[in-house]
């Protein structure tokens, strides 16, 4: 199987067998996800449908197969999840929530489809932006996930990400949001879900990315955080999410992208990590698991591939760490 899809990087045939990425299998795996509707798993994950679509689509773009899912079908689906108030739900009939609104916007941006959105829903972009902006807590600067008011740095990052993709960052108080992130900085150099919450690689990604969008990386103790992040690598090459925990492929993204934003990607052993991710592939049916031998899923598939992309694995499209 040739990896001919990338933007002109050669040498793939030279890779040893255990370093091979099974691109066609992964493309097929992602395409098959939506045709498995008779399986229990399919409806149990309905609350993730839009996220899943975003992850699958992103993986396909990185693999160099952006057209492997139908553009019109995707747009129909995103619009069918859009509520009158500008929020987006996980699937038709689900309540609007920040996480799915962000995924929806990311999908539209990936497909360069904001004009299509306007054609289908006039004023759609403004509506979505307003929905997101209204979830900011004017006191603390952070964001809620929905009308329940659950707050988490994940939502703050999502808000800034989606608003900047739509060119609507001016609708929120960025300085306040930045101050909130600073209040989540911990004694070990990391960040958690809220002030005082344990440092966690996923939350660190959300905080570092939000600060990058806000242009305030100067507020981060970069050497200290970089050291903490690089400490996530274990002897087997994989990365964990917190000290003294097990490795998991998804941290290939959360940790690596954070290191990339801090320009410290080289502080870990990239070759060892790439080998670890590749061991987690299902080489027959496609997809990537959390660790070797486990069940694959689309979440670990995209984060494994995105990790490999940051590591400049040949043939993959380069991913933006934010």
């Amino acid at each position: 199987m040739a990896l001919v899809s990338g933007p002109g990087r050669g040498g793939v045939a030279e890779l040893p067998a255990e370093m091979r990425l099974f691109v066609d299998k992964h493309v097929h795996y992602i395409q098959s996800l939506d045709s498995r509707k008779d399986e229990l798993e399919y409806w149990l994950t309905e609350h993730l449908r839009l996220n899943g679509l975003y992850w699958g689509l992103t993986a396909l773009h990185l693999l160099g197969h952006p057209d492997a899912l139908p553009r019109q079908g995707i747009l129909d689906f995103v619009c069918s999840c859009l509520h009158e108030n500008g929020g987006i739900g996980a699937a038709p009939g689900h309540d609007a929530h920040m996480l799915y609104t962000v995924s929806g916007v990311q999908i539209l941006a990936t497909l360069d489809a904001f004009a299509d959105l306007e054609a289908r829903v006039p004023g759609g972009r403004q509506k979505i932006a307003k929905y997101i902006a209204d979830l900011q807590d004017p006191e603390t600067g952070t964001f809620a996930g929905d009308e329940w008011g659950e707050q988490d740095t994940r939502f703050l990052y999502g808000a800034l990400n989606a608003l900047s993709l739509m060119g609507q960052l001016h609708l929120v108080n960025v300085d306040r949001a930045v101050a909130h992130i600073q209040s989540c900085a911990n004694f070990d150099g990391g960040y958690g879900t809220s002030p005082g919450a344990e440092s966690h690689s996923g939350q660190i990604f959300t905080c570092v990315a939000a600060l990058t969008i806000a242009g305030r990386l100067d507020l981060v103790d970069q050497d200290k955080l970089g050291a903490w992040l690089s400490e996530r690598q274990l002897k087997n090459g994989g990365l964990n999410g917190r000290p003294e925990k097990k490795e998991d492929v998804c941290y290939s993204w959360w940790v690596l992208s954070s290191l990339a934003m801090l320009n410290k990607l080289h502080w870990i052993d990239g070759e060892k990590l790439a080998a670890f991710i590749l061991q987690c592939q299902d080489t027959e049916l496609g997809g990537i698991a959390d660790r070797p031998g486990d069940m694959v899923d689309v979440f670990h598939t995209v984060f494994g591939i995105a990790g490999l992309s940051l590591l400049k694995y040949p043939g993959l499209v380069e991913v933006d760490p934010i």
Binding site: W43, Q233, W267
Partner: protein, 304 residues
Amino acid sequence: MAPTFYHDDPKWSNIKPIPQNDTARPLAAIAYTDEYSEAMSYLRAVMAKNEYSHRVLGLTDHIISMNPAHYTIWLYRFKVLSELHADLREEIAWLNVTALKHLKNYQIWHHRQTVIDKLGSPEGEADFIATMLQQDTKNYHVWSYRQFLVQRFGLFDDEGELKWTEGMIEEDVRNNSAWNHRYFLVFGGKGEQTADKAIVERELNYAKAAIKKAPQNQSSWNYLRGVVRRNKLPTSTLKDFALEFADIEKPDDVTSSYALDTLADIYTEYQSKREEAKKALDLLATRYDPVRAHYWNYRKRLLE
């Protein structure tokens, strides 16, 4: 367990279920199993007429048991509880059982916070948390929830809370969540305020004792270094202690890479100790933490 259906249940005969409408949405067509599909169509029907009743409470229970991550249902369940002025203690009892079945679910924790906040008392929560942590001592949701309780009910200076945290660390000295909770209790409520000297001393001794038990432990070293930094003590305060585990004159006897790292930091602060600092970093790059050789070499370059 046999599936539960509603169409032949007389208690539900006045409801006309609303089935999922997924025509002409190629990517959204969802084929449910019959039980889930029917329950959801009854939920849509009762939500459409804003019914808040005990039978709806039962219906949400049924759907949550099949799919706890469906966030819309939790939202509606809380509305029903409020409208019925239901006994929230009973809700907590129900949540105790439900939480054990769904350890990594976000919604369940937020629901619990909302209910406990309304109840205004953390009574019984410690036992529940103990049960949850037996399943996974590092469950992020559980520890975040514990922080919520500390904040909501002002337990920062509660002696029992600190004792409990100590017990968790004793059980597993590598439990980073427990160390973080300790930091949260001792310093977290204080903001920028200076801490009592005696308390700082107590915390340094506590971390050092834990390190002696397990020298190669990120969590206890992070804590020790964190306490030093927060209270603006010089890193050299830790020099004698670090030397117990790593001495660049005895490169074969290093028992903790974190001690070596600490020594490198201390030597770096002194112009006259540059060579010692480089030696410590070399040992880390080549022998004691080679996976991160690039990082240690970067630190070395900063010295030149």
